[in-house]
């Protein structure tokens, strides 16, 4: 990724960018793997050995933990993918489909933890859904004694992940559609008697799949190793593997560092295994699908299934909106007990009481998100500008590199990163947390910016150059203004990613930097729902407002011309 031509300072950007996010991952992985084999001299681990692994295996629930991680991770990924595919198959070609990005933005930009908190209240036996239908429909005057949240199977965790990941995959698919002549293909297939959904599934999907493979792997890796959602909705006895690792990392007994590091390493292994398994299963699925496509059945089950999937996706989407709405209601509720469908008394007291405690996490959240997003933007723009000037496009391998932070489980490298940060003395500083956030913000900012940047007509720049404009003048006066819209959207995405970070904030901040998300997850452990409501609502609102600003600012700007 070095610049072949003398690009000046701009030529340094790729190396700088790679260092910014690879260094913590590589150093962090080493810092986790060594104690997993017993090496951490600072707390008495001097010899390499398998003892941490023996202790991990001796934990009574370890098999269930691993199985829960695998089953919820795969279930969430498969379901999200199926729903996203069904949604796109039905939505393709409809006039409203072009505005889909705007529709899904509220769910996409809301942190996982906020949705999870809202879902927890929706689906609890004493939750909102039960309240809405009791006692007139169910006859329940007391909530039924059945398990939903924390169910052993982990279905609430899967539900929340699917609600959150489906819109993401839909957007990724729509992005990929720009690169195939989908409209024409679907029209030809329809003239051959296929329904529109069938045509999309049989002809468009196989063409875009290679481009959404990495996003799918990101969803798979994330679902397998998610911590905050699992803390709120997942089973607790035993919890999924990543939560178990976090629990041990924060145990009072220092000795638990070693099995914790082993558990975090096993988590890495699980993700690698899952991705390899998925990749190996692809040819099998492809050959089965080929038989189905070649048989040429028209008006088969495919359309019906796609419609069903589309409906489920819509219901889940509405559920996510209701999840946030429920928390908004709690934030202004005084008393709201089962089986009242709405609060019985209302108050603004929750907000006025919480104002003092909200100030610090809100300002930390804003500061971190702004700093991480701006740095990521500068790095991404620098890389892209370098690419343009050097007329040299990064290949697939670089794309994998960009996706690395989204593929490596957070728990597997953040612990090692923490040791590194403590050693250098910058742990618990805002700078450390900004850096940790940058690792995750950068890929999203870069990915969302890369396509619009690369597809900008190069004749603008050439014309300007022929008029004597310098490269930097072209950058600041031509490319940036033309790409203002995508740049702001990239900022909004980066901002939302930063707001949602839980584990990186906890580890790099050493617990001393509290954001809305870390506080909300802490409070979700049992605090007053009225208080949780204020945190969850703000968590959802901040990224949403930034997104709205990102969309409206260029619109106003261009409207004036």
């Amino acid at each position: 990724m070095t610049a072949p031509r003398g690009a000046g300072i701009v030529g340094l950007f790729p190396a700088l960018t790679v260092a910014a996010f690879l260094l913590p991952i590589v150093a962090g992985l080493a810092g986790t793997l060594l104690p997993a084999f017993g090496y951490l001299p600072a707390i008495g681990g001097n010899a390499l050995g398998l003892d941490p692994w023996r202790r991990l295996i001796a934990y009574p629930g370890i098999a269930t933990s691993v199985i829960t991680s695998l089953s919820t991770g795969f279930a969430a990924t498969l379901a999200s993918l199926a729903l996203a595919v069904a949604f796109c198959a039905i939505a393709h070609g409809r006039s409203w489909a072009r505005r889909i990005g705007g529709f899904v933005a509220p769910v996409l930009s809301t942190p996982h933890a906020a949705i999870a908190i809202g879902v927890a209240f929706l689906i609890a036996p004493s939750g909102w859904i039960a309240r809405a239908i009791s006692p007139w429909l169910t006859g329940w005057t007391l909530p039924p004694d059945v398990a939903t949240i924390g169910h052993r199977s982990g279905w609430p965790l899967v539900l929340c992940l699917v609600a959150k990941e489906t819109p993401y995959l839909v957007l990724m698919m729509i992005g990929a559609l720009h690169q195939v002549p989908a409209r024409g293909h679907v029209m030809i297939a329809r003239s051959l008697g296929y329904s529109s959904a069938e045509a999309w599934l049989k002809i468009v999907l196989p063409q875009i799949y290679p481009q959404i493979r990495l996003p799918i792997f990101a969803v798979l890796a994330f679902s397998l190793s998610v911590v905050d959602v699992a803390l709120i909705l997942g089973p607790g006895n035993p919890p999924p593997l990543a939560v178990l690792a976090l629990r041990w990392f924060s145990d009072a007994d220092i000795g638990y560092y070693f099995p914790a590091a082993a558990a975090a390493s096993l988590q890495l292994l699980l993700v690698v295994f899952a991705i390899v398994a998925w990749r190996l299963a692809e040819p099998i699925v492809t050959s089965v699908a080929r038989v189905w496509i070649v048989r040429g059945v028209r008006r088969g089950m495919a359309t019906v299934s796609a419609r069903a999937g589309f409906l489920v996706a819509i219901v889940l989407f509405a559920g996510s909106i209701f999840a946030i709405a429920g928390m908004a209601l709690w934030s202004i509720a005084d008393a709201w007990r089962f089986p009242s469908a709405l609060p019985t008394t209302w108050t603004l007291g929750n907000w006025s009481r919480e104002l003092a405690s909200l100030r610090a996490p809100v300002s930390a959240t804003l500061l971190l998100a702004t700093a991480a997003t701006l740095i990521a933007l500068i790095l991404a723009l620098g890389c892209l500008e370098n690419e343009t000037r050097a007329r040299h496009h990064v290949g697939t391998r670089a794309l994998w590199l960009l996706y690395l932070p989204l593929l490596v489980p957070q728990i597997a490298f953040l612990f090692g990163t923490q040791v590194l940060l403590v050693k250098t003395g910058i742990d618990g500083t805002l700078a450390a947390v900004v850096w940790a956030h940058l690792v995750f913000v950068l890929p999203y900012v870069f990915l969302s910016l890369a396509d619009p940047w690369r597809s900008l007509d190069s004749r603008y720049a050439r014309t300007a150059a022929s008029l004597g404009a310098s490269p930097s003048r072209i950058f600041f006066r031509i490319r940036l203004p033309l790409l203002l819209g995508p740049v702001l959207i990239a900022c909004a995405i980066g901002f939302a990613v930063s707001v949602g970070q839980y584990l990186p904030t906890v580890f790099a901040g050493n617990g001393r930097i509290a954001t809305l998300t870390t506080d909300a997850v802490t409070l979700a452990g049992g605090a007053d729902r009225r208080v949780i409501g204020t945190y969850a609502l703000l968590q959802a609102l901040l990224p949403m407002l930034v997104y709205v600003a990102a969309v409206t600012v260029p619109a106003c700007r261009f409207a004036r011309r």
Binding site: F249, A252, I254, R337, R512, G525, G526
Partner: protein, 402 residues
Amino acid sequence: MTRGRTELRFCALVLIALSFSAFAEDMPWNDIVAKARGQAVNFNAWAGDEKTNAFIAWVGTEVGQRYGIKLRQVKLRDTAEAVTRVVAEKAAGRDALGTVDLIWLNGPNFLALKAEHLLYGPFSAKLPNYRYVDTTHIRSNVVDFTIPLDGFASPWRRAQIVFVYDGARISDVPHSMAQLLAWAKRHPGRTTHPSVRNFLGATFLKQALYELAPDAQQLQEPATDANFAVQTAPLWVWYEQLRPLLWRHGEQFPDNGPAQRQLVNDGEIDMMISFSPAEAAVAQAAEQLPSSVRTVVFDGGTIGNTSFVAIPYNAAHKEGAMVVANFLLEPSTQARAQDYREIGAYTVLDVDALPHADRAMFDALPRHPALPTNAELRTPLPEPHPSWMTGIAAQWERRYTK
């Protein structure tokens, strides 16, 4: 060669750190207060209860105005996080300018830090307000879970087990762990206890152990393989019968006390254990529980303990931390804390020995139908040695984590 140099530098650092702490130890209180001015004290405190968070915020305002200290609550999900942090700093060789100045703790967390010599002290006797602490009647103020404090922590609030129930839904209130089992048979699924990984969940089992062990006196000694099996056998017989009768058939447990309280408020359960005698009154006043809740103290007496604030050996702001610890012992602070409209934390002070004006503040505290009387609370039972709690928690995990 390089290693030798690093070691040398390390020794020098340790020496500097030692000289600093030696300096602090000899300082008269006025100098400590003077040095504390301008310090930013990181108070690591469990943050699952917003009432307590608000109280700590109030403490912050007060010490800010009076002593120029900037108090910041580092909000913890679990106190063990702070222990981990101190350990991590020790591991990284940060023996001075540590980031944790004050920790709210007791039990295993205190023991872990004290045993590893990670606490600063002894300091509690240096606090001017320490003379009001009841060290004779309330033994838990000086002995934490059978471990002598030796001045390495300063008490700030007391806890004692009570049970909170919804008086509108139950009338046959149990008065012992044995009766609780009989009650659960009549009302399956209507009570629970917090996860045993949480101190309150483990405390539930400990209380049962006290009532069921053949010789409760042995709980004051460290558990051995031999006496552990004998003393806990009846506990497991009892729990085997109780567990399927708990909420969610004993397969799920609320994470902690507040989560359990939310279950009572949501109508999912009717009765819960609490470690704060004023919890029902406090929560009722805040609309966190229905107005029909009441409190019961079991007949055979219940376990009580004290929780403390301690200062890590490497804390950057030891003077500020000591001034905060002293402020927490101020009679007016303690009276405010005991007010159920605040946090309802029973005082660690010997109220009878206080100057008249200070005692009057306690006498003037408001009453509430869900507050137990002092007569009902009696003298709390001392906490068993921590090895019993870790033992039963580990045993529970082996039996029920599958």
